[in-house]
């Protein structure tokens, strides 16, 4: 059996969770087995996970799992995997998934790969790919343990409707008491967080000053995109730190990354070069970013960006 940890945030499943379910269902097909989803706590639309490929849904409700703690969550997932005889365990490569993956692997003495981006190949050994060296290469891992644990990079495959709703079953497993007390969690509501955004509009030092960001926000709004920035801009306090993408910031792989007034230094590219499509707006035709771009506009961003916003609004109005 393939077991997918169906992560929820504040009682809701995100797209990344549906992606993981679809990935789990397709992996199960390759292995001639079934895919089950594991939900911790209560959430909206639990039955619906069946639509994306889970044929069984297990739900754990236990004291000690009310707040997130990697130790108690990892124990719950690993104990469920043992109880159900799961051979492949899948989770999203989110901040939650990242803090669980290694723990679950050690508990199950399992080989693990973090941030896979393709279905495994199962002929002559279990092999799976992930990006390494900041997207400059792909490594193929072979896992030889009986149990395998994978985390799935967001946006690697689209959730697919491939089944029907399934009623969840209660599962009870041993869960150790948490030794971590969560005092507060502050998340920006309403905005799609950068690592999950499909469309991103980003700007750098070419903006000249923080007061000019209105045109970037307008462009982002016209697209329904999330905003990002280069490091010097965050360091200077022009933009909040959580917007900083690159080697030392957030690594993202949206469907569309639009960069205005960013030169495309290697450390910046490290965080964005896995985007599916890159558009670069820069007045310098020699800017290194053009080498990594799919579409380029050589021009003054203060003129180009508002024109692009207008063109998108016109397209949306059609």
């Amino acid at each position: 059996m393939v077991l997918v940890f169906a992560e929820q945030q504040k009682g809701k499943f995100k797209k990344a969770t549906l992606e993981a379910i679809t990935y789990g269902a397709k992996t199960a097909q390759l292995l001639n087995t079934t895919c089950a989803a594991l939900v911790i706590g209560n959430a909206e639309g639990v039955d619906n996970l069946g639509v994306y490929g889970a044929t069984k849904i297990y739900q754990i409700n236990a004291e000690g799992l009310n707040d997130f703690d990697s130790q108690s969550y990892a124990a719950a997932i690993a104990n469920a995997a043992k109880e159900l005889g799961a051979k492949v365990i899948i989770m999203g490569h989110s901040s939650t998934g990242k803090s669980l993956l290694g723990r679950v692997a050690i508990r199950l003495e399992a080989g693990s790969v973090a941030g896979v981006n393709q279905l495994p190949s199962v002929e002559g050994g279990f092999k799976v790919n992930k990006n390494v060296f900041s997207g400059k290469a792909i490594a193929t891992y072979e896992l030889s343990s009986e149990v395998k644990v994978l985390s799935l990079m967001g946006n690697s495959l689209a959730p697919e409707e491939m089944g029907a709703a399934v009623a969840p079953e209660e599962l009870s497993v041993d869960v150790p008491a948490s030794r971590v007390k969560v005092l507060e969690a502050k998340t920006v509501d309403g905005e799609v967080p950068l690592p999950e955004a499909e469309l991103v509009v980003s700007a750098g030092r070419g903006m000249k000053e923080p007061g000019n960001w209105g045109i970037i926000e307008d462009l982002a709004k016209s697209l329904g995109a999330t905003t990002a920035c280069s490091r010097p801009v965050a360091d200077a306090g022009w933009r909040p730190h959580h917007e900083h993408v690159g080697q030392t910031g957030v690594a993202i792989r949206p469907n569309l990354y639009i960069a205005a007034g960013i030169s495309g230094a290697i450390q910046h590219l490290a965080g964005v070069n896995r985007s599916k499509v890159i558009v670069v707006i820069n007045k310098d035709p020699e800017a290194p970013f053009f080498k990594a771009a799919d579409y380029g506009v050589v021009g003054d961003l203060f003129e180009v960006v508002p024109k692009l916003t207008a063109a998108i609004n016109a397209y949306k109005a059609e």
Binding site: F68, S70, S95, T96, K98, S99, G102, R103, I106, R107, E109, G111, S112, A114, G115, K127, V132, F133, K136, A137, I138, A139, T140, Y141, E142, S144, R179, V180, K181, V182, L183, A185, K186, T187, V188, V192, P193, E196, L199, H241, H242, L256, I266, A270, V277, F290, K291, A292, D294, Y295, G296, V297, V298, E303, K307, L308, A310, A311, A314, Y315
Partner: protein, 246 residues
């Protein structure tokens, strides 16, 4: 306070990425190696600050061959008291974590610090693995840490925001940007580092469940398609019809 900082060596981001031996090994020829920035700038420096505030010791640990000694000496030059190198050529995060946990098991460290990830393999796994093997709580992606006696208040990055958690020693954390400010080793530090102990220990026997069997380079990007800055309607058309992203 007894602190253990896990440090790793990675190719500099600007390094040329190439492979040898039938594309099964990273080609190290001509590559400049550095200490993984998250380990050096944040984990190590915050550990030194904790020691400066409360006393104790900072030990750095690496699983690797003698080729890593220069990077380890740099950690000593920045201020660690002593270093341990587990003499092996690791092939997976699992192997690294098991080795470090085996070493640390009877040493009673109060805090084990790792970087949030290595910038070459981006595993983000070793910290959680060590914590599990040592039965410790683990806080990932820490951006802020205050200690009050043996109780730590830690802010960590989560999707779209931050979480504040409280945990008592012993625990493991992985360090993210914000936890500390980079320190450049000074002359005195460099001189002193030569006399500080670097203990080489033999690895324990472990059966490793995963390994890299091959590398490939991504398909070369087609050259950029330039769009007339006066014609943004054309760019929108391309994004819709050709790239299919809007």
């Amino acid at each position: 306070m007894k602190l253990l900082v896990c440090i790793s060596k990675t190719p500099d981001t600007t390094a040329k990425i190439a492979f040898t031996n039938g594309d099964t090994e990273f080609n190290e020829e001509g590559v400049q190696f550095i200490m993984n920035p998250y380990d050096e700038w944040y984990a190590l420096v915050r550990a030194l600050e904790l020691k400066e505030a409360a006393g104790g010791s900072v030990t750095i640990i690496n699983v690797g061959t003698s080729a890593n000694d220069a990077v380890i000496r740099k950690g000593l030059a920045i201020g660690a008291d002593d270093a341990v190198r587990i003499d092996a050529d690791p092939k997976s995060s699992y192997f690294v974590a098991k080795q470090i946990a085996a070493y640390a098991a009877d040493k009673e460290f109060d805090v084990v610090l790792t970087g949030k990830e290595t910038i070459d393999f981006n595993g983000s796994e070793v910290g959680g693995m060590i914590a599990e093997a040592l039965d410790m709580p683990f806080i990932s992606y820490a951006t802020h840490l205050e200690m009050d006696g043996n109780v730590a208040k830690i802010t960590r990055d989560i999707e779209g925001g931050a979480e504040v958690a409280e945990v008592s020693t012993p625990f493991t954390l992985s360090a993210s940007k914000g936890l500390a400010e980079q320190r450049i080793p000074n002359m005195k530090g460099i001189m002193m580092s030569k006399r500080k102990p670097l203990n080489v220990v033999a690895p324990v026997e472990i059966s490793d469940p995963s390994k890299v069997v091959g590398y490939t380079l991504p398909d070369a990007k087609e050259s950029v398609k330039l769009v007339d800055p006066e014609n943004m309607t054309e760019l929108v058309r391309l994004l819709h019809e050709e790239a299919k992203v809007i």
